[in-house]
């Protein structure tokens, strides 16, 4: 079953005009902001396929900016998001994506924080406001944002996954989906886990104590016009 509940049929609550070009774009922007962990200072956005062709009429540019500002899909401020970003001193520039994209409605976002830290997301809007992230910070990992999601940057060493899942099991947290990608053997790796419940601060602290773990980030769109 592709559609699992009644609110994927009646819903989401959103500002128009297109569930895939507008609501989905807000969600991609939100996920990128959450991956960075704070409001970005500059953002470069590449639009692919139908996003690049029709962004101006669907407000895809406003929607992505709205997500980057932390707005939900039905926040009326989405329509003025680019002006608000400018007022806040956030530089957002749009480009046409080059090369192949995983879906006709795809955007690539490169965010830089005030202190120079960066985050990168490649996301597709697959219909009805639902999104699929295909890449985070150069790692080939997936998530939809519909479930509370833990993103872990760690060293590629034997036993790291066991350490992670043991701590989740210990806090009675169930994993619905899990993906791992690494830059190379024994190099940096990223593990993404979609969970059935929101991870609490104690669990996150436990994960950060694992020696090989470098960063733990939480992505969660539930309750945000989802």
């Amino acid at each position: 079953m592709r559609f699992k509940n009644v609110f994927s049929i009646i819903g989401p609550s959103m500002v128009g005009p297109s569930s895939s070009h507008t609501a989905g774009a807000v969600r991609i922007g939100l996920i990128a902001r959450q991956l960075l962990g704070e409001q970005p200072k500059t953002v470069k956005i590449a639009l692919y396929g139908s996003f690049a062709e029709t962004y101006w009429g669907h407000g895809t540019d406003l929607a992505l900016a709205g997500g980057l500002l932390g707005y939900a899909t039905d926040d009326a401020r989405v329509a003025d998001a680019l002006e608000e970003a400018e007022r806040l001193g956030i530089g957002i520039s749009f480009f046409k994506g080059v090369g192949l994209a995983p879906h006709p409605n795809t955007a690539k976002l490169e965010l830089t924080a005030a202190d120079g830290r960066t985050a990168q997301v490649l996301g597709a809007s697959i219909g009805g406001g639902t999104v699929m992230i295909h890449e985070m910070n150069g790692f080939d990992v997936r998530c939809s944002g519909e479930y509370p999601t833990i993103v872990v940057l760690h060293d590629d060493r034997p036993g790291v996954l066991a350490s992670l899942t043991a701590r989740l099991g210990g806090s009675d947290t169930n994993i619905g989906y899990m993906g791992v990608d690494r830059k190379g053997r024994s190099a940096e790796a990223m593990t993404v886990m979609e969970l059935d419940s929101v991870p609490d601060a104690e669990l996150l602290a436990q994960l950060r104590q694992i020696e090989e773990v470098k960063e733990v980030t939480v992505i969660n769109l539930s309750g945000r016009g989802a």
């Binding site: 079953m1 592709r2 559609f3 699992k4 509940n5 009644v6 609110f7 994927s8 049929i9 009646i10 819903g11 989401p12 609550s13 959103m14 500002v15 128009g16 005009p17 297109s18 569930s19 895939s20 507008t22 609501a23 500059t42 470069k44 590449a46 639009l47 139908s50 690049a52 062709e53 029709t54 101006w56 009429g57 669907h58 407000g59 540019d61 406003l62 900016a65 039905d74 009326a76 989405v78 329509a79 680019l82 970003a85 400018e86 956030i90 530089g91 957002i92 520039s93 749009f94 480009f95 046409k96 994506g97 080059v98 090369g99 006709p104 690539k108 490169e110 219909g127 009805g128 406001g129």
Partner: protein, 319 residues
């Protein structure tokens, strides 16, 4: 969910003497682990937003960002209130309300996707006008949304609800079927009558292509929402009158899948065929594109001394 087809949904309703709404609420609670109260509160919030969109769409001339559409809902409401609409007062009101919500959508206003933004006018058009006419409570209407959701859940999982996948039959067609079946239940009809109304409605939109001018959710989407609301009222009447869909509704849904899968890509939301590629459709598109600077290729750094020019060529640079 305990049902995958409209037939199974009808069987549960008859065996357990439950409305489609009751079944949907119970199944939603079981599937998500969220309480019945929270689920109905969320749907109630959505219905409030649908009514707000109707009001907003009728209170002012909502012009879209592209300038291609807006102002038609007010014209039809004026005919309903001050003229003699050929389709009758209730139909013309449903039409005005549906146009209103779709115009709000096109102008970046807040709507509920039912099942998508492109088809967001039909259910509010039918529901809000019928509530006024029959004096129903909000609670009754919220139940109606669950009934519509149950029907849409079956259609979405056995066929399509997006124009990019299955054409407009999947968006506007699904919304008409959902509204028609739900209206039968709201008016006291049984599940079987509701399902026949769904099948009757879907038959009338089979093959409908998705061919928006310039790829935007405006021409012909808004008008199709207005006319779709009228179709839903008519299909509900057929169901309540006892008209049966000779081809069972689940089989009609499977035809939607068959037709949508065979539809050329030019007729699936790409703007490459149909009304979008008529001489006028092309002219409107060219008008919108005129003076619009193309996006720079991805992340190309401007050569030194040309930074200002390059920045001007990107659509929005807020640095």
């Amino acid at each position: 969910m305990r049902f995958r087809t409209l037939k199974e949904l009808t069987a549960i309703s008859q065996a357990e003497s439950k409305t489609l709404a009751e079944i949907m609420i119970e199944e939603q609670a079981a599937e998500t682990g969220v309480s019945r109260e929270e689920i109905t509160a969320q749907m109630s919030d959505y219905y409030g937003k649908m009514k707000a969109a109707v009001r907003l769409g009728l209170s002012e001339q909502n012009v879209s960002r592209s300038g291609l559409s807006g102002g038609d809902a007010v014209k039809v409401l004026d005919l309903a209130e001050n003229g003699t609409p050929s389709s009758g007062d209730p139909s013309s009101r449903a039409m005005a309300y549906a146009l209103a919500v779709s115009e709000v959508n096109a102008s970046m206003g807040r709507i509920i996707a039912t099942p998508t933004a492109g088809s967001c006018g039909i259910i509010p058009g039918v529901f809000v006008s019928s509530q006024e006419r029959f004096g129903w409570s909000d609670e009754h209407m919220v139940n109606g949304l669950f009934a519509a959701g149950a029907i849409g859940y079956v259609i979405a999982n056995n066929s399509f609800i997006s124009g990019a996948e299955g054409g407009c039959q999947a968006e506007v067609g699904s919304a008409i079927g959902m509204a028609a079946g739900a209206l039968v239940e709201l008016r006291g009809g049984g599940a079987e009558q509701a399902m026949h109304a769904v099948g009757l409605a879907l038959k009338n939109t089979l093959g409908l292509i998705c061919d928006p001018v310039a790829g935007l959710v405006e021409i012909p989407c808004i008008v199709r929402n207005g006319l779709g609301a009228v179709n839903a009222l008519a299909a509900a009447d057929m169901g309540l009158a006892g008209v049966r869909s000779a081809i069972p509704s689940d089989e009609v849904v499977s035809v939607m899948l068959e037709v949508g899968a065979a539809m050329p890509s030019g007729h699936r939301e790409t703007g490459q065929g149909g009304l979008a590629q008529t001489p006028t459709g092309r002219k409107l598109t060219e008008g919108l594109m005129r003076g619009r600077k193309p996006l720079q290729p991805e992340f190309e750094e401007p050569a030194s001394g040309q930074a200002e020019t390059a920045a001007a060529q990107t659509v929005h640079t807020s640095e």
